[in-house]
């Protein structure tokens, strides 16, 4: 799922512990794997391409200035959408929440994708990251909506985002 969705879902699942940064982080992290089991769409990375047909964990990297710039821009836009949504929710309903815990939950929600990137982007692959990658792949849906079908992808991801926002706004 996109970063913004993961951030909002992580915060929603961590709602009961949004006063405890460590617990919020752990719950946010766990939520990542849960929602990745739902068939979904992701925007593609320009700098990294997985090649499952060429072997398990096979990938090619392209760390050109253009590819990195486009990826960073997409990450910034995606993350900003999550931050704006969480900011609005915090202002409306977050009077009892710790901002650090909220940030920890959101960070935990997107960390597995960062670890995944680290695993695929490094040549000397860490065993810890490999174990994580196997765990991530085992849970991650194989029903991935093709990158080009972004309208369908966004439409199917919007309910996850909106339901999580509703939980944050109305479940307190």
């Amino acid at each position: 799922m996109t970063f913004s969705t993961h951030m909002v879902v992580a915060t929603a699942v961590a709602l009961p512990v949004l006063h405890n940064p460590a617990a919020a982080f752990a719950v946010g992290l766990a939520s990542h794997y849960v929602v990745d089991a739902i068939p979904h769409w992701d925007w593609p990375l320009k700098s990294l391409e997985k090649k499952p047909e060429e072997g398990h964990f096979a990938s090619t990297v392209n760390f050109s200035f253009g590819a990195i710039s486009i990826d960073l821009l997409r990450i910034a836009i995606d993350t900003s959408m999550g931050l704006v949504a969480l900011g609005v929710v915090y202002l409306i309903a977050g009077h009892a929440w710790s901002l650090i815990a909220l940030a920890a939950a959101a960070f935990g929600g997107i960390l597995p994708d960062g670890l995944q990137f680290l695993f695929f982007a490094t040549r000397a692959r860490s065993r810890v990251l490999e174990y994580h990658q196997r765990f991530h792949d085992a849970i991650h849906t194989d029903n991935k909506i093709p990158h080009t079908e972004y309208v369908r992808g966004v439409l199917l991801q919007a309910p996850v985002f909106l339901i999580s926002l509703a939980v944050l706004l109305f479940a307190v």
Partner: protein, 71 residues
């Protein structure tokens, strides 16, 4: 304790995904995504997310904490 919980959750998820789903619903991972499949996974994820929320509340929310989530 947390390690045991983690392992239990991991295997429970794998069991659900790899055995129950394929055997009893006929849904396979390589199938073209349809709405039924998507709804199934949405509900499954919501249930697991709810269980995590309940577990987190039981584990980390003390009676002295601020009133939140019906506590």
């Amino acid at each position: 304790m947390s390690h045991v919980t983690f392992r239990a959750g991991y295997y429970l998820h794998l069991t659900l995904a790899n055995t129950c789903v394929r055997r009893y619903t006929g849904i396979t991972m390589s199938e073209q995504l349809d709405v039924k499949t998507w709804i199934f996974w949405m509900i499954a994820a919501a249930i697991v997310a709810g269980l995590i929320m309940w577990w987190a509340r039981e584990m980390f929310v003390l009676e002295t904490d601020l009133p939140i989530f019906g506590n």
